[in-house]
Amino acid sequence: MSEIFLFIILLYALSGVIPLCIRKKRIWSVSSIIMGGGGILLTLFSLPFLLVSSAKTILFQGAWVTFPIRIGIDRLSALFCILLGLLSLAVALYTPGYLDRMHGNRRTYVVSGLIPLFLLSMLLVIMAETVIAFLVFWELMAILSFFLVLTEFEEEKTRYAALFYLAMTQISTVFVFLGILLIRLGTGSWEYPVHLSGSDPLISLSFLCLFFGIAIKSGVIPFHKWLPHAHPAAPSPVSALMSGMMISTALYALLRVVTGFYAPNAAWGFLILAFGCLSAVLGVMYALKEQDIKGLLAYSSIDNTGIILIGTGLWVLFTVFGSPALALMAIAGAVFHAISHGLFKGLLFMTAGSVCQAAGTRNIDEMGGILVRMPWTGGLFFIGVLSIASIPPFSGFIGEFLIIMSLIGGLSELSPLLQIVMVVVLSLFSLTGALTVTTFVKAFGLTFLALPRSEGADKAREVPWPMYAGPAVLALMSAGLGIFSGQIFSLLGYPGLLPDLLGLFLLLLGTSILVYGAVWSYASRKTRITRTWGCGMMGSSSRMEYTGSGFTEPVVRFFGPVYRTRICTTHEFLDQHQCLFRSGTGSIHLMKFFEEYLYLPAARRIDRYASLVSSLQNGDIDRYVLYVFCTVLILILILGWSA
């Protein structure tokens, strides 16, 4: 069994190395076929580990005893391996078409080579079984994704995004590294610890370090600022992987740490819950206001991370306060949502990428009318929208449903103080859900419906079939996971967790057919295609439509304190008494709260201390000799003292 997994790892490595070494025209289609094959194999062979709860295998054992590197697979990692396999397949179908249309010759080889390697690094993070292996692969993942973000390096914005990302991801690694060292100090081994508990401050500190390291990587607010820069800047298949899989990998690490490493602790539960609520609500609020479609999707990833954090935090609380049934519901919701988020976010990023490429812009206000021009891509994006807006019976619904059920269940089982927490979280959670629907009505409605608002959008044409076959795989999985969710949960050994959505789906289908049939047979069938009423003007133009900013204006007004807009106006006058007005400008700026109050002050402080250090190093040989002399002196003194 373990050979087949090593073979899969080899396939990924091979498909990564081929385009980096061989510069033949369209070599990436070969590498994509290998990667897609690897994805299919990975999905198929991970399934048995998911279905049988006790199945566990060690795949590879490093020979080095001091730093043991071991990879293996168990139930939790099998689940995320399946997600990775499916995303690999979709990306393998999608990428060649995307690369064909990309500018720059050499860059395309690099991208097509780095994508499988990036996937491989994530696969290894998921399969790691010792903390040291985890750290190594975690850093590998960070570095590879940094280069992928840097692909379109000519643009100033991309370079900024990549550097920002590199800084943040290294801070994340530092935290994870510290956490792992503390675990090593606490337990004296590099193995994954099992249910550490006790009041040892080392243990709490190691949890906090690991949590913050993972939180930075998964874009938890307030450590999120890099995410909406870096995810959209990368080429679309990479954005799909970063939002769909890299966040899921970080969340896998979180689930592993919270449920496996440590014994549940109420304080940590509240911490996770608080960060979850913050990310969910603010993430979706920023997404709503975003005009860049890929940026909107990136912000919505933050909001989904928040939802998964809420589920995880609830698991901790329910476990500590003794409601195992509710705890199971919450964690099932969190895990299911992590998987389905990976699927539908990959789908949304890929279809949005096709649209951006076809229309030549990422701005929602310059799109419109794409659905008529790109029906397949638009239809698939619509399925993604239904899923992310948690419409039953699509997969996005299941996770949110389970978490809501556990919250309401918590109301009647817990003590009054916790009940208040539950009510607050429930309101914030449902606010997130409702704003997500609004956000995606905007994203779909203004991008795909009505009239095109720019020439580029008008000239958009449907992409070649593999570019929608890839997303179609994910759309199919997304719908299937939702419809058969009840059956899937019973198969995994958790029957009765969910109502039967298959029945609901069949009833919906049957009712639709009946309604359609009844109207078809009894109502008038006369139909005419005509022009939209233009309020008495001859024909309507796209300038009469609502824009994205207009669409979200009421929500911005309702939640004014959160958005904190600033209106700037300038005036130019004809005369010096400022009576005759000639021209002027007006603009509305969104205040960047976290940048102004958290990131920039921190950066300035670091800069100040760094400049203190730099004054030590002024290139003067005499001074360096002095340093050496002082060091030697101090060493001699210390050694003499201790001897």
Binding site: V372, G379, V437, V441, D500, L507, T527, Y546, P554
Partner: protein, 313 residues
């Protein structure tokens, strides 16, 4: 057993479809009378639907598949929701899940489709309507969830069938929490069906319209389907309110006499509630759009209060 469930589903849906336009007209009639007008005939709703179904349907040349499927989908979703909410008879077994959260999300689905429809035809009014509708829904949603959570908390079950069954055992010895819940449930009806003071169902004035704005470009059979689904939605929400605070006469077993009695009683209760809604609408003026969250906060406050009182008891 399963046969009984099918009979229930059929009867329930048919009953809802038949009475919904009547309830709409009762409200119209009451409002007209308060304004000193004669008002439409009580059967006018049926005539309107028949007329619309016979007329030609227009599609905008810019419109895509959303405009084609949304009318059918909107009605189908509400009919499925109608299977979940027993109007006059609670069968022993549920045909599909009657989970109240699933019911809520079905309503959200309908709203999403209508909002997209508003954008599909590229008209200014559609965009305006769907922007407003989605903004309002963003803030009413948490309120709705908390109201339903309070309902679940008081009755101890997620299934709408069981909630109604528990309500029949509580009746008529009133639980104060049930009475408290009726306030947010009433506000919910007002908001979800787009009535004064949130929305005005009678104007086509761009300053005020929300729901009508999105449907401005639909016609013929599509408009008829939307009007029907709007009426069905109102009846379902009314049924939730009525069957919780006044569950008298709701049938618990299948026998012709009890069922007919239940149906007639519901018709009476519903008509009274419609009169109240009509009077309520006449008593208020349309609220300024940005003031509407205040109304929602009242509903939110009452549902939180319900939960806390239930904790105390």
């Amino acid at each position: 057993m399963i046969g009984e469930s099918f009979i229930f589903a059929f009867l329930n849906v048919a009953f809802v479809l038949v009475i919904s336009p009547f309830f709409m007209m009762v409200i119209k009639k009451v409002k007209a009378r308060v304004q000193g007008r004669q008002g439409p005939h009580l059967l006018q709703g049926y005539y309107n639907l028949a007329k619309l179904f016979r007329k030609e349907t227009l599609y905008s040349e810019y419109a895509g598949f959303i405009s084609r499927i949304a009318p059918y989908a909107a009605l189908s979703i509400l009919l499925v929701a109608a299977v979940m909410v027993p109007i006059f008879w609670i069968p022993e077994q549920e045909l599909v899940t009657a989970n109240i959260i699933v019911f809520l999300y079905l309503l959200v689905t309908g709203r999403l489709l209508i909002a997209l429809l508003g954008l599909d035809a590229a008209s200014t009014f559609g965009g305006m309507g769907s922007s407003r509708e989605m903004s309002l829904s963003a803030i009413i949603e948490p309120v709705t969830v908390v109201v339903f959570a309070a309902l679940v908390y008081v009755t101890g079950s997620f299934s709408i069938h069981d909630i109604f069954r528990t309500a029949t055992t509580m009746f008529p010895a009133y639980n104060p929490t049930v009475l408290l819940l009726s306030v947010p449930l009433f506000i919910l009806i007002i908001v979800e069906t787009g009535r004064v003071p949130v929305d005005n169902p009678e104007t086509h004035l761009e300053l005020t319209m929300v729901h009508e704005g999105m449907l401005l470009d639909t016609s013929g059979r599509n408009l008829a389907l939307f009007e029907l689904s709007h009426a069905v939605k109102q009846t379902l929400l009314m049924a939730i309110l009525l069957n919780i605070i006044l569950p008298a006469g709701i049938a618990l077993e299948m026998s012709a006499g009890v069922l007919i009695l239940g149906g007639v009683l519901f018709l009476l209760k519903g008509t009274v509630l419609c009169v109240i809604i009509g009077l309520f609408e006449s008593a208020y003026a349309k609220m300024r759009f940005f003031q509407i969250p205040n109304l929602f906060m009242i509903a939110f406050f009452f549902s939180i209060l319900t939960i806390f009182i239930e904790v105390m008891l």
